[in-house]
């Protein structure tokens, strides 16, 4: 074997190794791990989420710009932005159920059953419970109710409805049967949702004879929420929920 010849091969090989290693080092590649298909899908999801968020932020930018224009025109017209702000406040308070409102809707009266107890039956089956009220409120909302009150108590986003022994506590205030639920919305839709087969009333309350009366009303007035301080801990936050 020719020693001289192969030393040059080794020279070339060493040069190649040196070259590869240096290029690799220079490329400054951080180790990514193996990219598997679930990982890829995750990343795709993440990208689309971020894009969605971006879009929403863009929308909110244009919205804010619109508001700015509104303020500016109102300042030009009347000298201040008071009127516009008043309007906005009214809208916000409306959403927060602070105002007494009116509109078409239904009045639903729930009363305890008058049926005689058979042997072995529990009297609890024949009473109106907090859970019944909750379910009915939810069904009314599904049917498009825009404002709901129970015995004059406005149901807001934070309203709690809870069992209080023989009574039901609504936002901490005791109420006894009969329960009068007022809901503003499309009267037909509201009534239909309450009376539909498979509705909560049909499924759980008909059998035990709990008295349900529904009255469609053209002009219904619902009181506003009267407890002013309800957002003690809530503050406005920047950005969305980070995962």
């Amino acid at each position: 074997m020719n020693r001289k010849a192969y030393i040059y091969y080794l020279f070339i090989l060493a040069a190649i190794i040196g070259f590869i290693v240096t290029v690799q080092l220079k490329s400054n590649i951080t180790y990514q791990g193996i990219i598997t298909i679930p990982k890829l899908l995750d990343l795709q999801n993440e990208i689309s989420n971020v894009e969605m968020e971006n879009k929403q932020l863009m929308e909110s930018i244009s919205e804010q710009a619109m508001r700015l224009v509104e303020y500016k025109t109102s300042v030009e017209k009347t000298g201040n932005a008071y009127g516009t702000m008043q309007n906005e406040l009214e809208k916000a308070r409306n959403y927060a159920d602070y105002y007494t409102v009116q509109g078409p809707g239904i009045i639903m009266t729930l009363n305890d059953s008058q049926q005689e107890l058979a042997e072995g039956e529990d009297i609890a089956w024949y009473l109106v419970h907090d859970i019944d009220i909750l379910e009915i409120v939810n069904e009314l909302r599904v049917a498009g109710a825009e404002a709901i009150s129970i015995n004059g108590e406005r149901v807001t986003a934070t309203t709690n409805i809870r069992c209080g022994g023989p009574t039901i506590n609504i936002d901490g205030k005791r109420h006894a049967a009969p329960f009068i639920i007022r809901a503003i919305g499309d009267p037909k839709a509201l009534e239909a949702s309450a009376l539909a087969p498979d509705s909560y009333i049909e499924l759980y309350m008909e059998y035990t004879g709990i008295q349900v009366e529904i009255q469609k009303v053209e002009k219904l007035i619902i009181n506003g929420y009267d407890n002013t301080e309800k957002m003690k801990y809530l503050r406005k936050a920047e950005g969305g929920e980070a995962s």
Partner: protein, 113 residues
């Protein structure tokens, strides 16, 4: 011994001076190629100690291993299965085995002296 080292330095210098960088999707090819080269080098050292060194076998091993490893990596990329782990595993095992044998030869040699 001095000539391969000069070659190594030359390669490093070329690597630093050349504007080539590797896109991230080819980095696994590069790592497998480096491992194949290292495996060949250790194999070469071992065979030269055993006095069975053959430049044709050495060269064909060097390039053949690198190419095969690259092909495995490519297939793995297409299938979404990290097949190049097989190459890394095989080269890694052989590398340590060769190193162990070299160690024995070197230490025994010293003892005899």
């Amino acid at each position: 011994m001095i000539i391969p080292i000069i070659g190594l330095l030359l390669g490093i210098v070329i690597g630093i001076l050349s504007p080539i960088t590797i896109p991230i999707q080819y980095s696994s090819y590069m790592s497998v190629a480096i491992l194949a080269a290292l495996d060949s080098v250790f194999g070469g050292i071992r065979s030269s100690i055993e006095k069975t060194f053959n430049i044709e076998i050495f060269m064909s091993g060097f390039f053949g291993n690198a190419v095969l490893a690259a092909i495995l990596t490519y297939i793995g990329d297409q299938l979404g299965v990290p097949i190049y782990y097989a190459a890394i595993f095989a080269f890694g095992v052989r590398l340590f085995q060769n190193f162990a044998i070299i160690r024995r030869y070197v230490l025994m040699g010293h003892k005899k002296k």
